[in-house]
Symmetry: C2
Subunit: 166 residues, 2 copies
DNA sequence: CTTGACCCTGGAATTAGTTCCACCCTTTAC
DNA sequence: GTAAAGGGTGGAACTAATTCCAGGGTCAAG
């Protein structure tokens, strides 16, 4: 039943993971994906675990981690060392980022759903002068607690500017 | 009670929205933020609605929209026209993206929480040889239905490559 | 031995969003 | 009037992730 090979070539891994071999190499260069053993011909031989690693990477990226950030976290993990506070803090910050983004996303999902429903309704009714509200609702979203913060580096914009103009 | 001004300067709006005036100008250039009226001195005068618009933009970006994509959607909305199928399709695609990302994110949130808890436990116990599992758990996450797809443009990687090598 | 399918490498290029730069203008306070 | 603070402009630069490129192997099939 186990149709899983224990080694993948770069092409195979790329295929399985849904990305290009170029990207795999990139991950390697960035230090988030370990350099795999090579065969005699210098071809990469990825262990099965690499697939999971790649999936982890993609999830982490999707969630706002930077390859460099990830590298710092994974380096700790891979060497089994105790995470220096820096890394722990990073992980914690990411977690709270994620929570914020989760809220935002489900918010936007709701809005987007409403918009689509709206559009479809309007398109069916076809009342000529109707002038659909379309994304109007999107604009309306409760703009309560959220507001600014970006994914990783927050609002350095004018801070930097202020520094140099000082 | 309404402490809200009805017009903002670019600096004010930037401040409120938590981004730089440069970014505001960028949004304008990209066509997601309407060119505001100008005062006699050529200063921008943003209507209060611009703040909501900017917030919408940020949410949309956070969720995977591209400024160009957003522009195409918003252009429809702003002109009150019926959304051409292209735009509707885009919105729908984004919705499904969002749903996928939501799943991924809450998945990763869970994992991240576990990792943090793990770390803290280990750090407290301080069993020397323990060699923490750290992110180990992250690797373990159910890799069921999800897997590859990226935010916006999916997997063009090798597709393009294939085309040209044909 | 040639062809086609893969793989390798380092560095350049691209894409998107954002920021920086240089230079000029306006308004307010001293 | 002059410095400080805030605006404006176009275009260059930067960052991150990914892709492209050019030149060079390996290997099985025909």
């Amino acid at each position: 039943m186990s149709s899983e090979k224990s080694f993948y070539s770069s092409g195979e891994l790329a295929e399985l993971a849904g990305l290009s071999t170029d990207t795999l190499r990139h991950y390697e260069r960035k230090g988030v994906l370990a350099r795999p053993l090579r065969k005699a011909n210098d071809y990469r031989q990825y262990p099965a675990s690499a697939l999971q690693r790649v999936r982890l990477i993609r999830r982490a990226i999707a969630v706002g981690f930077t390859l460099d950030e990830l590298a710092s976290v994974l380096k700790v993990r891979d060497s089994g060392g105790a995470p220096c506070m820096e890394v722990r803090a990073l992980a914690e910050a990411k977690l709270s980022d994620i929570e914020t983004r989760l809220r935002e996303m489900s918010e936007l999902r709701k809005e987007l759903r409403a918009v689509l429903k709206d559009w479809d309704t309007r398109l069916e009714q076809r009342a000529p002068g109707q002038r659909a509200h379309l994304l109007e609702s999107l604009n309306a979203g409760r703009n309560g607690g959220l507001g600014n913060r970006r994914q990783g580096s927050v609002n350095l914009a004018k801070k930097k500017r202020e520094m140099r103009s000082k």
